[in-house]
C-alpha cells in the first residue's frame, strides 16, 4: 500500500506546487515578491474569492476610471470576472454621514472609503473604527506619513488634490503667481469660491490658507462678491460657459477632464503655497469583505494602481519615486510648496470655529 500511495501523494503535491507556482507566475501582483509575501497574497486572493466582491466609496474617482481600475484589479490578482467591485461616487458630506451612520448602527456595508478629509479619518482611527492593516505598499509612503498625511498601519492616501485659482484661457488672460494677484484680475462678481459652509474640503483649504494669508486678505476677497459654489464640477463648468471668469478654488483634476473635451482651462500654483487634500483611504474595522479590501488597498497604492489613478483623475501621488504621467496637472509632491497642516491635531471644534470665521467674513 505504501508503495502505491507514495508516488500518488508525490505527484499530487508536485502538481499543486506547479499550480501554485504557475499562479504565482501569472499574477502580476506577485512579480518580484518575496515567498512570504507571495503566500500572504495568495491566501488573501483565495479568501477574497470566497467573499466574492468588495464595496468602496470615493469622492473623486469617476465611473470611467473605476471601470479601468476594477478591470486591472481583477487581472492583478487573478480574480474571476464574477468578482464584484461595487463602487460609489459620493460627495464628501454624504460619505462622512454614511460611514458614521453605519458605524453607529453596527451595520457596516462599506469596505473601503477614500475621502479628502484627513482630520475626520484620524478621528475615526482614534475611535477604533478603522481596521489596522500594515499594507506592504506603505513603505513607499513613508514620507507622507512623516508629513502627517496618513497613519502607518491604518491609512495612506490614494491620491491628493488641491484647490487653486483657475480660469479659461480663451476668455481670461492671467499671469499671476501669487494668491494676491487674483485681486482685480476679473470684474467683481466674476470669480467664484467654494462654499466652506457646505463642504469640509473647502473649509480645510481655507484653514490651511489662513496660515499664509491674513484675515484682511479674505475680507478683501469677500468684497469682490464671489459666487459661492459647492461642486468642483460646477466651478469648472461655469468657467467653460463664461459665467465666471475665474475660480478662486478651482480643481486641477477638473481642468484636466474638461481640457480632454476641448476646453482651455488653466490654473496656477501660487508661490505662497497650496493646501494638499489627501484622499485618505482606509478599511472599516467591521468591513464585510476585509480580505478583498486589503487587496484593494494594496492595488490602489501600487505603482500600477497609481498609474491608472493619475491617468484617470490627475490626482497627485504620494508614492515615493512615482513618475507622474501627467506632470502638468498632477505634479510630484516634491515640486509643490505645500502648506503644512497637522491634520491629526485639528479638532472638530477648531474646524467649527474656522467655519464660523469664514461665514463672518464672506457672509454667504
Amino acid at each position: 500500500m505504501k508503495g502505491t500511495f507514495a508516488p500518488a501523494f508525490l505527484s499530487i503535491f508536485t502538481a499543486l506546487g506547479i499550480a501554485v507556482d504557475a499562479a504565482a507566475q501569472e499574477l502580476p501582483a506577485l512579480q518580484g515578491a518575496a515567498p512570504e509575501e507571495k503566500a500572504r497574497v495568495l491566501q488573501l486572493v483565495e479568501d477574497a474569492k470566497k467573499e466574492g466582491g468588495l464595496t468602496y466609496w470615493d469622492v473623486v474617482i469617476q465611473p470611467e476610471t473605476n471601470d479601468k481600475l476594477s478591470a486591472q484589479f481583477r487581472e492583478y490578482y487573478g480574480l474571476p470576472a464574477s468578482f464584484k467591485v461595487n463602487y460609489q461616487l459620493s460627495s464628501t458630506a454624504n460619505l462622512v454621514t454614511r460611514v458614521e451612520q453605519e458605524i453607529g448602527a453596527d451595520r457596516v456595508t462599506i469596505d473601503v472609503a477614500a475621502i479628502g478629509s484627513p482630520t475626520w479619518v484620524f478621528g475615526r482611527v482614534n475611535k477604533g473604527d478603522v481596521l489596522a492593516y500594515a499594507s506592504p505598499q506603505y513603505r513607499h509612503y513613508a514620507s507622507t506619513f512623516e508629513r502627517g498625511m496618513g497613519k502607518d498601519g491604518f491609512f495612506a492616501f490614494n491620491g491628493a488634490y488641491l484647490f487653486v485659482p483657475m480660469w479659461d484661457s480663451e476668455r481670461t488672460t492671467f499671469n499671476g503667481k501669487s494668491w494676491k494677484d487674483v485681486f482685480g484680475a476679473v470684474p467683481a462678481g466674476r470669480m467664484s469660491i467654494g462654499d466652506a459652509t457646505k463642504s469640509v474640503t473647502y473649509l480645510d483649504t481655507y484653514a490651511g490658507l489662513r496660515k499664509v494669508l491674513d484675515l484682511e486678505y479674505f475680507k478683501k476677497l469677500a468684497e469682490s462678491k464671489p459666487p459661492f459654489l459647492l461642486r468642483s464640477e460646477q466651478i469648472a463648468g461655469r468657467l467653460v460657459s463664461g459665467e465666471d471668469l475665474m475660480a478662486f478654488t478651482g480643481m486641477p483634476t477638473r481642468a484636466y477632464q474638461y481640457n480632454q473635451k476641448g476646453a482651455k482651462l488653466k490654473f496656477m500654483l501660487p508661490e505662497e503655497g497650496v493646501v494638499l487634500l489627501p484622499q485618505s483611504m482606509f478599511i472599516l474595522k467591521k468591513a464585510p469583505h476585509p480580505n478583498a479590501a486589503k487587496l484593494w488597498i494594496d492595488f490602489m497604492l501600487s505603482e500600477r494602481g497609481q498609474e491608472a489613478l493619475v491617468r484617470g483623475e490627475a490626482l497627485i501621488s504620494g508614492r515615493a519615486g512615482f513618475k507622474s504621467p501627467l506632470p502638468e496637472y498632477a505634479p510630484s509632491m516634491d515640486s509643490l510648496k505645500i502648506i503644512k497642516i497637522d491634520w491629526e491635531s485639528v479638532s472638530t471644534a477648531e474646524l467649527q470655529k474656522m467655519r464660523e470665521e469664514w461665514t463672518r467674513v464672506f457672509n454667504p
Binding site: 465611473p63 458630506a93 454621514t97 451595520r107 462654499d195 469640509v200 464640477e233 467653460v240 460657459s241 476646453a263
Partner: protein, 537 residues
Amino acid sequence: MLLVVGPFLATVIRSLLYWDGDGAALSLQNFAALFSDPRFYQAVGNTALCGVGATIISCILGFSLAWVVSRTDMPGRRSFEILNLVPFFLSPYVGAISWIYLAAPNSGILQTFLAGTLGTSIQLPLIYSIGGVTWVLSLFYTPYVYLFVIAPMRQMDGALEDAARVHGASFWYTLRHITIPLLLPALLSSALVVFVTSAGLFDVPLAMAAPKGIRTMPTEIFSLVQYPSDLGRAASFGVVVMSVTVLLTLLQRRFLDRRRFETVTGKGYRPRPIVLRPLGRAAALGLEIVYIGSGVVLPVVALLMVSFSSIWTGQLRPATMTLRNYEYVAFGYRLTQQAILNSLYLALVGATLGVGLAVLQAYYLNRGNRKGRTIVDLILSLPLGIPGIILGLGFLILAIRTPLYSTLSIILIAYIARFFPFATRTVAAMLLAINPELEQSARASGASWLQTMRYVLVPLLLPAIIAAWLMLFVIFIRELGATILLYAQGTETISVVLVILSEHGSTYVAALAIIQLVMLLGAFLLFRATRASLVQA
C-alpha cells in the same frame, strides 16, 4: 400613525439633546443657539418670501389653467390639459438647472440670444435671486394646484354659476363669490402643500440662491448636517418648521370647518363650457403659451442643447455636439438601469399603497368621529412640514438597527409616510365636495357600507383618486430629500443618480433628465389610456 410619529419623535428628541464634554444632556440649548443666530431669521425670512411667492403664483396659475381647460371652450384645451402637467414631470431641481442654462446673466442661452442674435442690451432679471427661486418654484409647483383643483372644478354643478349669472352677477363677481369659494378646500389644500413643499425644497435654493449668498431654511439645515455637523441645531430647526406646519394645518381646518363646500349633489347636471369672447380666448391662449413656453418648451430646449454637447460653453457648437452623453447614461453607466427599475418599483407600489391609505384617511377625516379627527389630521400632516433630509434622518435613526436598513423597503416606507398626506388632501378636497346625502340615500335604500363605498363614493372620487395616484407616482420618481440619506448600494433611484452624475458632469445630468422626462411622459400617456378605460368602466 406609527410611520409618522416615529421620525417626528426622533427629530424632537434629537433637538433636545445637547452634547458637551460630559456627554449628552436634555437641554434647550440647541433652540437657544438657533434663536440667537441672526442667520436663522434671514433664512426663515427668505424661505417665507420664496414659499409665499411661489404659493400665490402657483395658485393663480394653477387655478386659471384648470379653469380654462375644464370650464371654457378655449381651442386646443384637450392638448393643453396634458401639456399643463408636463412641468410636473420635470423635477424642480432639473427645472432650476435648465433655467440657469437659459437665464444665467453671463452665459444664459436667452441672454446670448438677446445680445448676440438680436443685438439688444436687454438684461434679464437676475436668476440667482429670491425672485429666480420663486419663479422656478412657481412654474414647477403650478401643476400641484392644477391637479388639486381640476377634479372638483369638473364635478362642480354649473347651475350654481348659472344662477348667479342669471341674477345679473358679472363674470368676475361670479368667480369671486361662487367659483373660488366653492373650490376653496382644494385651493387651500394645494396652497398648504405648495407652501410647505416648496419652502422645504433644498436643491433649487442651493442652485439659485446659495451662489449669491442668499440663505434659506433648507440650505441652512444642509449646512448644519455637514461635517463638522451640528445635528442638534439642525433637528431644532426641523422642529420649528414642523410647528409652523401644524399651525397652518390647524388654521386651514378651522377655516374649512366653518363652511360648507358641497358642489356635487344628487341632482343631475352636466357641466357646460363657458363660451369665451375673442379677447378672453386670446388671453386664455396667451396664458397657456406663456406657461407651457416657460415650464416646458424653454427648459426642454435648454436640456436638449446641453445634453447634445460634450462640454457646455453657453451655446450649441457643431464642434462639441455628441450623442455620447445619452450613450453613456443609458448604457455605459451601470447605475442607471438599476436606478430606473428601483424608481419604477417605488413609484408603482408606493403610489398604490399611498392612495389606498389616503382614501381611508380622507374618509375618516370627513365622515369619521369629529372629536378624534382633528388630532389625527394634525399628526398625519406632520410629514408635510418636515424637510425631506430631516425626515430621512428620522427614518434612518429608527431603521438603522433593523433589517430594513439599506433596503428599498425603508425608502418605500419613508415615501409613503411623507407623501400620502398629499394624496389625502386631494381626495379629501373632493370628498368635501360630495354631499353625504348621497351615501345616506344609498344606506337608506339598503346598501351596506362597503356597497356604498364601491358603488357611490369611490366612483365619484375616481377623478381625485386617479389624480392623487398620478401625483404620488411622479413625486416618488423624482423624490430626493429623504432618499439621499436612506439609499444604499443597489437601492439607488433616478434622482440619486442625477446627484451622483452632477459630481461627474452637467451634460450627463441633462441627458438623464431628458431620459427621465421621456419615461415619465410615456408612463403618463399609458396612464391616460388606462384611465380612460377605468373611468368608462
